[in-house]
């Protein structure tokens, strides 16, 4: 089990690190997707099937497409694959500063968490329990998220529905 965890961790962190190192944006995006798939694998390892499948569906299926479309639609110059040096010292300094801030926050979070050393018992949660929990205790949050998503969906439909008058051969 630990071996699997190490493998998943190496996959996740390695692909994320490679994504940052590579200069080809498409490669970076694809490696980022591998990293997300690694997160899903970790959820599976931890016995959270539902979250793992949701992670794959949302990140590998949907958000990856947003990222890839964004990359393809924004890349303008042909020199994107050439190595780019940090342009100015100010930029390098900002990069180091922001990395240090993030590192500090993460370190503080890790250090302030107390880990229980007792053997954790995997709670046997079924999809049904998750659903009931979401509907009762987290009902308000679920409702708000649902309303926002439905409004977004309806908005997309209305945007698609209100186009100017078309020619007869455009009939759906």
């Amino acid at each position: 089990m630990t071996l699997a965890l190490i493998f998943i961790a190496v996959l996740m962190l390695g692909s994320a690190a490679l994504a940052m190192l590579l200069r080809n944006l498409i490669y970076s995006a694809l490696l980022l997707i591998v990293s997300w798939a690694g997160v899903a694998a970790f959820y599976l390892w931890a016995g959270a099937e539902f979250v793992a499948f949701a992670q794959v569906l949302v990140y590998v299926g949907a958000i990856s497409m947003v990222v890839l479309f964004a990359v393809l639609l924004t890349r303008q110059n042909h020199s994107a694959e050439l190595p780019v040096e940090p342009a100015t010292k100010a930029r390098a300094a900002t990069a180091i500063l922001s990395a240090a801030c993030l590192g500090a926050i993460l370190a503080a979070a890790i250090l302030s968490t107390s880990f229980h050393h007792t053997a954790a018992e995997a709670p046997a949660t079924s999809v049904r329990q998750i659903g009931l929990e979401l509907m009762h205790r987290q009902g308000a949050a679920l409702l708000i998220v649902g309303v926002i998503l439905t409004v977004a969906l309806l908005g997309a439909t209305i945007l698609a529905a209100t186009d100017p008058k078309r020619k007869p051969e455009d009939a759906p």
């Binding site: 498409i26 694809l30 997707i33 099937e49 539902f50 499948f53 949701a54 794959v56 569906l57 590998v60 299926g61 949907a62 990856s64 497409m65 890839l68 479309f69 393809l72 079924s126 999809v127 049904r128 439905t150 969906l153 309806l154 997309a156 439909t157 698609a160 529905a161 008058k165 007869p168 051969e169 455009d170 009939a171 759906p172």
Partner: protein, 413 residues
Amino acid sequence: MTTAPDSFLERAPLELRDWAVQLLPGPLQWLAHHLITVVAILAVFGLFFAFTTIAERKLLARLQNRLGPNRTGLPKFSILPWHLKHTLFGLSQPFADAVKALTKEDIVPAAADHFLHFLAPVIVVAFSLMTFAVLPFGREYLPVDLDAALLYFFAAGAATELAIFMAGWSSRNKYSLLAAMRALAQLISYELPLILSVVPVVLVTGTLSTKAIVLSQGYWIFGFLPHWFVFTPWGFAGFIIFLIAALAESNRSPFDLPEAESELVAGHLTEYSGFKYALFFMAEYFGLTALSGLGVTLFLGGWQAPFPFLEFIPSYLWFMMKLIGMIMFFIWVRGTLLRLRIDQLTRLAWQFLVPLALLNVGNAAFWVLTTHWAGPLQLVRWGVSLVIVILPFFFLGRSLSAGYAPRTYRYAP
């Protein structure tokens, strides 16, 4: 369910597997158990794919008043003293095709990204095969019984889009990339009505497990009518939306624009040749089969027999019969309907199917809230549900096609 017929035929494949497993030493048994399941799925659906292609070519040919492939017989093996001259109605055509695809030269463009170009067909086949793991093929024939099986099905299917993007981008060909983007636009547009059409089933059965969904369609109304979801108003509407979205998701005619055979080069597959092309082709059919299987599971009662007196036929045969029926229907649609344009395609999804699917979710909620209605109220329940299905369909269709007179065709005298 009335009686659970544990006939010999029903149990035979399981008994065979168990017999094969117990021949092996203890530690290997669980591995063998799963390997046999995997190999069975690969063999059955590999052959099913082969015969789907020949059935499609034959049926399309008949629909177009042709004969279709009818010459491939058995090869003459040099060891044998005789040669069976019968052409077997051309039924061995897929095997000839497979040999051809395997021996063809695999051409990779010089500028292509070799790794991704290789990876794309592998991913698309692997993930389309993974979806078969949660389909209940029979009473006892569910490869993996997951609690969140439906979610798994769609999660595994989501990787197809990634593979199409990789195929289009790694080819380093403008047309491949553009076609991949078009294919992605189509897949993303139709994923929404596909999933929304499945939600009512989840709402009514209260589970994501495919096994439980089939079991909940198991009893008989008045003792002989099947209680399949397609025979309820919301189930019927959901099934139709599911069919249309499944056609679009598996790039089938009339939604086969990504690689419209008669118009484009081959879409995102332009730079693929040899067995890699065959793999994409295979994945397309696997995807179609898996989606048909899901449709059968969700709406057509899965492996249940349509009438109580037909329960003596093994459950897996019922599943396969329904599956073949769905595939035949898809081939029929391909032979009948004309291809859509890309704007018509996306408009159909966003303006027509998504609103109807959303309303259908509400319809299913109404159905769940009124389960305790009995007697004449049952008629009211059916009536209201039918109205929720029919009226929006009618008015939405009318308003979308308002102002368009039926097109008149004029032919040269």
